[in-house]
Point group: C2
Chain length 233, copies 2
DNA sequence: TTTTAGAAGAAAATATATTTTTGTTGCCGC
DNA sequence: GCGGCAACAAAAATATATTTTCTTCTAAAA
């Protein structure tokens, strides 16, 4: 057989590629909440047909990252302080439950994965040139938290966790320039890892809860500040 | 203005209608797990273009009701006893948490909705002519459980609850002919409502947990029996 | 007899064209 | 001058056609 030409399409199909790209852009805050996502514009931008865009948007709609208004197209899902509080409450519930079970069930493979993920995250610069989170750190951060939860041994719990985490990422970016100096995120993560590896469930849960709540408060402040600014214009 | 012709399209767009219909069929167990969902066949069956089908399937993929294999089309998501156990564990966590919060926060409107939903469900025949659950009862049942949880006051909690509930429905149908006689489901539901209205959180949670576990066991038995039969053919 | 290569057919992925709907602007009547 | 109606433009929804990819059947060689 003739070896295939180099090509190697990014992710199988064009639709899949568009979906992933669009999703990444959405999570990175490239489009503002409530912004209209014009199908033909996106099609032109990504150089694919409108059908592929529609399919990607349909998937994102089911995920809740975009909203679909019948006959009126798609928009970026809205954000609000109330939603953030609700989301964080739920995240605290799920993340701590995952964490407890992971600490109980985790084997040496889990420990190794956590240490590895933490090492990568710690070695990655947190800020990009423009003041936002660097994409590499965002990925490493997500993988660290995922690694921590992984050993919970439940596919559904991980699935729900991932869903909530992804939605939080959308908010995370909004707080990018807000008092990051007031906070030692690296230390929080390190302590989290240490408590988990020490199998100290109570301490780990306490740290995780504080970590998530602190993140929420930081974002909420940025969110309210932005809202006030919009109000006053 | 000329009054529009009767039409009144079921749910806005054709895609939306196809999505809802396909989803209902999926939950009713009309297609078997792992079965291939041919786009052109579905398009012919529903008398819409392939694009509409693709869009509906994309949304269902994001929901986890169907799986997409790149370049190889779509299939009905698989089921397994392990997945059912995992799913039920998660459901018990979430449903009981919703229930506790609803019992704490629920106002007179909530009580009214619960009573109303229960009344409708109790008055609906549970079995259809062919031995499966009647569609009307399935809907009423879903609405009863939703009404119970509604007052939890968290959009995200309800969203996760709904996701899990929907996936459970897919399993529910598999156990349709299995020893339903051994079980007094109506009594379980009545006791659940009574405990909730009496604001007895502990009792309500106990009943709910038993209810969900019992459902799981019934389905699991049917699932294993079906697997054994497939094995032996 | 089994395995593999090739070709034909089927189905999915994608692009393009058409139709329908919606939002906007300008004009006419009040 | 203000409100409503009509025509136009933009965008979404849908259908159809084309291309690509995968699967299966057959035939030939080991």
């Amino acid at each position: 057989m003739v070896p295939r030409p180099i090509e190697c399409p990014m992710s199988g199909s064009a639709t899949q590629a568009v979906y992933e790209l669009l999703r990444a852009n959405l999570l990175a805050g490239l489009y503002r909440p409530e912004e209209k996502l014009k199908i033909s514009e996106l099609g032109a931008a990504f150089a694919v047909s409108t059908g592929a865009i529609r399919e990607a948007l349909a998937r994102l709609t089911a995920e809740g990252l975009v909203t679909a208004l019948p006959q009126r197209g798609f928009r970026v899902a809205p954000v609000s302080a109330a939603d953030l509080r609700d989301l964080t409450d739920m995240r605290i519930e799920i993340e701590t439950k995952c964490l407890r079970r992971a600490i109980e069930n985790g084997d040496i493979g889990w420990e190794t994965a956590v240490v590895a993920a933490h090492h990568r995250m710690a070695a990655t610069p947190i800020a990009a040139a423009d003041g936002s989170f660097s994409p590499a750190w965002t990925i490493a951060h997500g993988e660290f938290h995922a690694a921590l939860a992984q050993a919970c041994g439940s596919v559904w719990m991980m699935r729900v966790r991932d869903l909530l985490f992804v939605h939080n990422e959308r908010y995370l970016d909004l707080a990018r320039k807000t008092d990051r100096g007031n906070r030692d995120v690296a230390r929080e993560h390190r302590e989290l890892m240490e408590a988990a590896l020490a199998r100290d469930a109570e301490r780990a849960v306490t740290i995780m809860t504080a970590h998530l709540a602190k993140t929420r408060d930081t974002i909420e402040a940025a969110l309210l500040a932005a809202a006030a600014m919009t109000e006053a214009r």
